[in-house]
């Protein structure tokens, strides 16, 4: 087990810059999730750590050791691929022990290692089958077994669950989490599923177009996204963005936006950042997550409450069971509010909503950065 540091790592393919100055550092035992849309360079970054690609610039360290020029087999990493990449001609047992065999581990030790891993992953009864005789979930387990048996410093996972059906994906997600707790190993995990990222990670790196957008704990990324991309990417349903303006409302700073001809004024809380002051009188993007926009809360009428109420016409409702997603239209944009089912109204009716001013984000409309 070891820490991992990426220092100003760049990667170009020909003239295309696929990764632009990536700086990341995780401690021993951390679970880092790389998340981002397709083609943003997640796999490339993972391949750089694995040594399957060479970086164009910058330094990669495992522990204190610079590994830029170390062969993949000597980096003491193990990788689980999206396609699992099981060797089709070998049995499950052979698949798991191949790496050990190449490294000259004795047959008796290999047998013991494969038994341990098989017990851990509950694949003891599959050991003599060929990969073609396994289901998707079983293949996934074998692929994990092949990584686990080597007892590496760092595990690399490249979208290991994306080929599984929804139910199995959730189950395996939990198992990977349990496994991480149990082994305490350092893991770098690639996914484009933000829920996977949130549930698994001790820290998340959000990427887009080869640029690291934000690197932080899941909670911090969720609550204080660096920019509109991160805000929209993490969380489901995603954050609402409303074109608004910051104004001075009797000495207090407030966001104001148009609600079908009416002006909604939401005063910000006293503890708002100082930086908001310089934005008074300017356009901003007002970001609020669906759960920050609810039915009328008790106590929201009291002065000084964190909740501010406004009325809007309900367009569509989407019950999910636990909550009813209520869609309203603000300035031509669909805005989703998360409403308790017993407080939901029918489409077409007016309803009072509470905005939780504790859960808001403001963004610069031109740079899209957090204010």
């Amino acid at each position: 087990m070891a820490s991992l540091t990426l220092d100003k790592v760049r990667k170009t393919f020909g003239s295309v810059e696929v990764l632009k100055e990536i700086n990341l550092a995780i401690e021993d035992g951390e679970f880092l999730v790389l998340v981002g849309p397709s083609g943003c360079g997640k796999s490339t970054l993972l391949n750089l750590i694995a040594g399957l690609e060479t970086s164009s610039d910058g330094e990669i360290r495992i522990g204190d050791r610079v590994i830029n020029n170390v062969h993949p087999k000597d980096r003491n990493i193990a990788m689980v691929f999206q396609s699992y990449a099981l060797y089709p001609n070998m049995t499950v047992r052979k698949n798991i022990t191949f790496g050990l065999e190449i490294r000259g581990v004795s047959a008796s030790e290999r047998d013991k290692a494969v038994d341990d891993v098989a017990r851990l992953l509950q694949i003891e009864n599959l050991l003599d089958r060929k990969p073609s005789q396994l289901s998707g979930g079983q293949r996934q387990r074998v692929a994990m077994g092949r990584a686990l048996v080597r007892n590496p410093d760092i595990f690399l996972f490249d979208e290991p669950l994306s080929n599984l059906d929804a139910k199995l994906r959730v189950d395996m997600r939990t198992e990977i989490k349990k496994l991480h707790h149990r082994l305490g190993s350092t893991i770098v995990y690639v996914t484009h599923d933000q829920i996977e990222a949130m549930t698994l990670a001790s820290r998340i790196a959000v990427m887009k177009g080869g640029i690291l957008q934000q690197f932080d704990t899941p909670q911090h990324i969720y609550e204080k996204p660096n920019n509109m991309f991160v805000a929209g990417f993490i969380g489901s349903p995603s954050m609402n963005f409303i074109e608004a303006k910051l104004v001075d409302d009797n000495g207090k700073i407030a966001v104001t936006f148009d609600n079908n001809g009416q002006k909604v004024v939401l005063p910000l809380l006293e503890n708002s950042p100082e930086s908001y002051k310089s934005w008074v009188g300017k356009d901003v993007v007002f970001g609020i997550r669906p759960e920050g926009l609810t039915h009328k809360r008790t106590g929201s009428d009291k002065p000084g409450s964190q909740y501010v109420n406004f009325d809007a016409k309900v367009e569509v409702i989407e019950p999910t069971g636990a909550d009813t997603m209520t869609v309203i239209n603000l300035g031509g944009k669909e805005i989703v509010a998360r409403v308790r089912p017993d407080r939901a109204t029918n489409p077409g009716e007016m309803m009072t909503f509470s905005a939780d001013m504790n859960q808001i984000s403001l963004f610069d409309p031109t740079t899209e950065l957090r204010i």
Binding site: N47, P72, Q82, S83, Y87
Partner: protein
């Protein structure tokens, strides 16, 4: 699926008629192609007197393997009258190493071209592809100079070299097209597991290359065994392959024309390729189409 069923029900009669017509055409073509073989076999089993008296397409009245025996052990090739058997062994000694070497090298080339994409891999591949279109005749002269320089002119080894060089383009093409459909992640996984270039090739790539190996072997064996031009150009006398010997037997002008011996010799010459097709034929079609369908 549903379409097929309704098709079967709605126009059962039409369907049967079309089927019948199809089979008729197929049978006619089969007869057309098999007829020469039939004549060859029957002629080779007749005695010379019967051939002179009977008609070309009649079955032998008395079946005799004398002609086969004569062709194998006694027929005269040039001045040497010890049958075609020594030349059969020449061909075996030429074909087997040439087929194996060109197949292995083709596999290695295809593997390197697809899984270890070095700089200029595409150019190398394009040039190899170009080699497939170079006609036999073009390489004759340069090749004879090369063989002479290497000191292996007029030897079986020389012929092996010629066939390996000429066949490499084709085998590389086969293996390259097969290997592009094998996921790169397999090689990456093995690299992380600690396996090197040749270990990955032997332990992982080659074991899953069965179908394309069969294709390569059948193709190369047929080409090399049936080759006449290279054999006639780069060998002489006792080292000639069977095809060249067959030509000499059939074209011998001295004495009576022994059609039964000619036919037996020709059949003996053709037998090995036939055998390879029968034994490995079903993998041939499978291997040719394997690259095109994933999974």
């Amino acid at each position: 699926m549903a379409d097929l069923q309704t098709y079967g029900q709605d126009s059962g009669l039409k369907h049967t008629l079309l089927r019948g017509l199809l089979y008729l055409v197929l049978i006619l073509f089969s007869i057309y192609y098999l007829f020469p073989l039939f004549v060859m076999i029957t002629t080779s089993l007749k005695s010379l007197t019967e051939i002179r008296e009977g008609s070309l397409i009649s079955l032998p009245r008395v079946v005799t393997f004398d002609a086969w025996n004569y062709a194998w052990n006694e027929a005269c090739v040039g001045v040497e009258c010890s049958g075609i058997k020594t030349f059969f062994w020449n061909s075996v000694q030429m074909a087997i190493p040439a087929v194996l070497i060109s197949t292995i090298l083709g596999a290695l080339n295809g593997y390197a071209l697809t899984k270890f994409r070095f700089k200029g891999a595409n150019i190398v591949f394009a040039m190899l592809l170009f080699g497939c279109f170079v006609p036999f005749q073009v390489v004759l002269l340069p090749m004879s100079v090369t063989l002479g320089k290497l000191g292996i002119a007029n030897s079986t080894m020389g012929l092996v070299l010629v066939h390996v060089v000429y066949g490499l383009c084709f085998t590389t093409l086969f293996f390259r097209n097969y290997y592009v459909s094998i996921p790169d992640e397999l090689v990456k996984a093995a690299t992380i597991d600690g396996a090197g270039f040749f270990t990955i090739f032997w332990r992982i790539i080659l074991p899953i290359s069965g179908p394309i190996i069969v294709v390569s072997i059948i193709w190369q064996f047929t080409q090399i065994w049936n080759d006449f031009l290279f054999g006639a150009s780069f060998s002489s006398g006792g080292s000639a392959p069977m095809t060249v010997a067959l030509n000499n037997i059939v074209n011998t002008t001295t004495g009576v024309k022994q059609y039964n011996v000619d036919m037996a010799s020709a059949l003996l010459t053709g037998l090995p390729t036939l055998l390879v097709y029968v034994l490995a034929g079903k993998y041939f079609v499978r291997g040719l189409t394997a690259g095109s369908v994933k999974g």
